[in-house]
């Protein structure tokens, strides 16, 4: 035990180490592995975006930008939200460019959560939300979602709200389930939000990847803009994960609070990535559409293959995940994950990784080529025929 062990901050030791690390090392050590465990696009960043980054480096754009981010980028985002969602966010003080949605979520928590404040987090969900609430010394309160469709409902919120509840995290299209919520369903949530006087942090990073209907931005709903922080980024829509570029849209006083944390911790998002994002917004929509069409084909393949091999799977309508149930195999999701990997070299992620209500399910990412997907499903089918 090192000297440090006894000196580690409580806010860190309170957050359990992810059990997936061992599995992670194992998966990376094998060559014959097909991974459906990847939470990022397999498409390379569109060439015109990479080219814009190279050009900006050539021209020597390697300095700090405004803490808010490049004005041109904020202006383009403002235009884009006006055009697509009829929402007005001022590029002056209602938009903040961040180092990915991850940073945006972290500083949003630090900007609004006081010691002991409760933040509602519907689960299964992305793994960072609860730890970030803890780092801000608040208390994450999980809302278990119905395993039928993994959508959030009015009653779910009311039953978990106390006088300490400050905010609700929304995350649709959802990672890990692929669920989306339609406007009418979100309106119900908006009612609960008003009733309990909550702030909303809506992580919409998969907004471009909905296959059956257009995405509804939570701020579009009546009365929601003034109490919502929209988080989004370029990672999933434009395949720009490693460039780390995201943004927050919110009322100016919220942005100002987030700015206070951001300017003293991150200072600004990397300029090269900001330059790439400008190009993506100006000329990138065609590549987004073409990637989306390919994801949609893979989605249909994935759902049909999973169902045909006897894993019930609700209709995932967004992101690039399917979330089938493995209950009928008699295995826990962790057991399924480990045995499938050991026997067949196929990586999926156990649903419980994303919260207790994920138990009994596995996350299958279809951000992989058709060829690899088919091979993975063949191997899974063989695996299932022997258990």
């Amino acid at each position: 035990m090192s000297e440090f062990a006894s000196k580690k901050a409580k806010r860190v030791s309170d957050v359990p180490q992810s059990g997936i690390r061992r599995f992670f090392d194992l998966a990376n050590s094998r060559e014959d592995v097909i991974s459906l465990g990847v939470g990022e696009p397999d498409f390379p960043t569109p060439w015109h975006v990479r080219e814009a980054c190279i050009y900006s480096l050539e021209r020597g754009h390697t300095y700090y930008t405004s803490n808010y981010g490049l004005y041109e980028l904020r202006e383009l985002l403002s235009q884009s939200y006006r055009k697509r969602y009829k929402l007005d966010y001022s590029p002056e003080d209602e938009i903040l460019i961040t180092t990915g949605v991850s940073e945006a979520f972290d500083i949003a928590m630090r900007a609004i959560v006081d010691v002991g404040d409760e933040v509602l987090i519907p689960e299964p969900c992305y793994v960072s939300y609860a730890p970030c609430v803890r780092f801000a010394e608040g208390n994450p309160v999980y809302i278990p979602l119905s395993q039928v469709d993994f959508k959030l409902r009015y009653e779910d919120i009311s039953s978990k709200t106390t006088e300490k509840t400050k905010a609700l995290v929304l995350s649709y299209p959802n990672n890990p389930t692929g669920a989306i919520m339609r406007r009418g369903e979100l309106e119900e949530i908006a009612d609960a939000v008003v009733e309990h006087d909550l702030l909303v942090i809506s992580d919409e990073v998969y907004s471009e990847l909905t296959y059956t209907t257009k995405h509804t931005c939570f701020s579009e709903l009546n009365g929601m803009k003034e109490r919502t922080i929209i988080l989004n980024g370029f990672s999933k829509s434009h395949s720009m994960t490693g460039l780390r570029i995201g943004y927050a849209l919110a009322p100016y006083d919220v942005i100002e609070a987030m700015m206070t944390v951001h300017q003293y911790s991150m200072l600004c998002a990397p300029i090269t990535a900001q330059m790439g994002a400008i190009e993506a917004l100006k000329n990138g929509w065609e590549s987004v559409e073409s990637m989306k069409r390919e994801y949609d084909r893979r989605r249909r393949l994935t759902l049909s293959r999973l169902r045909n091999m006897g894993l019930p799977c609700f209709e995932a309508e967004g992101a690039f995940y399917a979330f089938p149930s493995v209950k009928e195999t008699g295995m826990s999701s962790k057991e399924f994950e480990e045995r499938l990997f050991k026997d067949k070299g196929v990586v999926v992620v156990a649903g419980e990784t994303f919260g207790p209500s994920g138990e009994g399910h596995i996350r299958c990412s279809y951000a992989n080529s058709m060829e690899k997907l088919r091979e993975a499903f063949d191997r899974m089918e063989e695996f299932l025929s022997r258990v």
Binding site: I20, F23, F24, A27, N28, V33, S35, G37, V38, G39, E40, D42, P44, Y126, V127, S128, N175, P176, Y211, T212, T213, K214, E289, K292, R293, D296, R297, R298, R300, L301, S304, R305, V347, V349, T353, F354, M370
Partner: protein
């Protein structure tokens, strides 16, 4: 935003799949497009009859076998009365050695791709069969040294998938 449920979009979807993989079977296509196999067969049949799908072919890197030599031939043409470019272009297109024929803007009129077993083969073909056509005023032959990209297919090594195997 595009929704893929109307007929035209299904057609485009099928064409995109076949353009990328001519070997895709109706069963495979049905699974990813969400239309029954029979319907996929019907749509493809229609697209073939209408001449939208011209042919199914493989994208081959012949340089791996030292199989063929390619040259791009720029052809200057004297136009014939009432016949325009179509007549001479069609005549040139009939030669099996000629892989593509395009009418282009700029200094020359037609741009051909010619394939032969050797440089000599190609050179003599151009000299004997193309340059001697009465409407051809001049030719200029450019041999292809290396093909980097053909029909949208990059011929070099694609970088391998270097994403981490598990990310959330």
């Amino acid at each position: 935003m595009s929704t893929l449920d109307d007929a035209t979009n299904v057609e485009i979807n099928i064409l995109e799949i076949l353009e990328n993989n001519g070997k895709a079977t109706p069963d495979e296509i049905s699974e990813v497009v969400g239309v029954p196999t029979e319907k996929v067969r019907e749509i493809i049949g229609e697209l073939e009859r209408n001449g939208v799908i011209r042919k199914y072919k493989a994208s081959i890197d012949w340089s791996k076998l030292d199989g063929y030599v390619y040259a791009i031939i720029e052809v200057k043409v004297a136009l014939e009365r009432e016949k325009g470019y179509d007549h001479i272009a069609e005549r040139i297109s009939r030669f099996p050695e000629v892989v593509s024929v395009r009418l282009i803007s700029g200094d020359h009129d037609l741009s051909l791709t010619v394939r032969g077993k050797s440089m000599k083969d190609v050179a003599f073909f151009v000299a004997d069969k193309i340059a001697t056509l009465p409407q051809v005023v001049g030719t200029s032959t450019h041999f292809v040294l290396k093909t980097y990209k053909e029909d949208g297919v990059y011929m070099g090594e694609e970088p391998k998938d270097s994403r981490l195997k598990i990310t959330f």
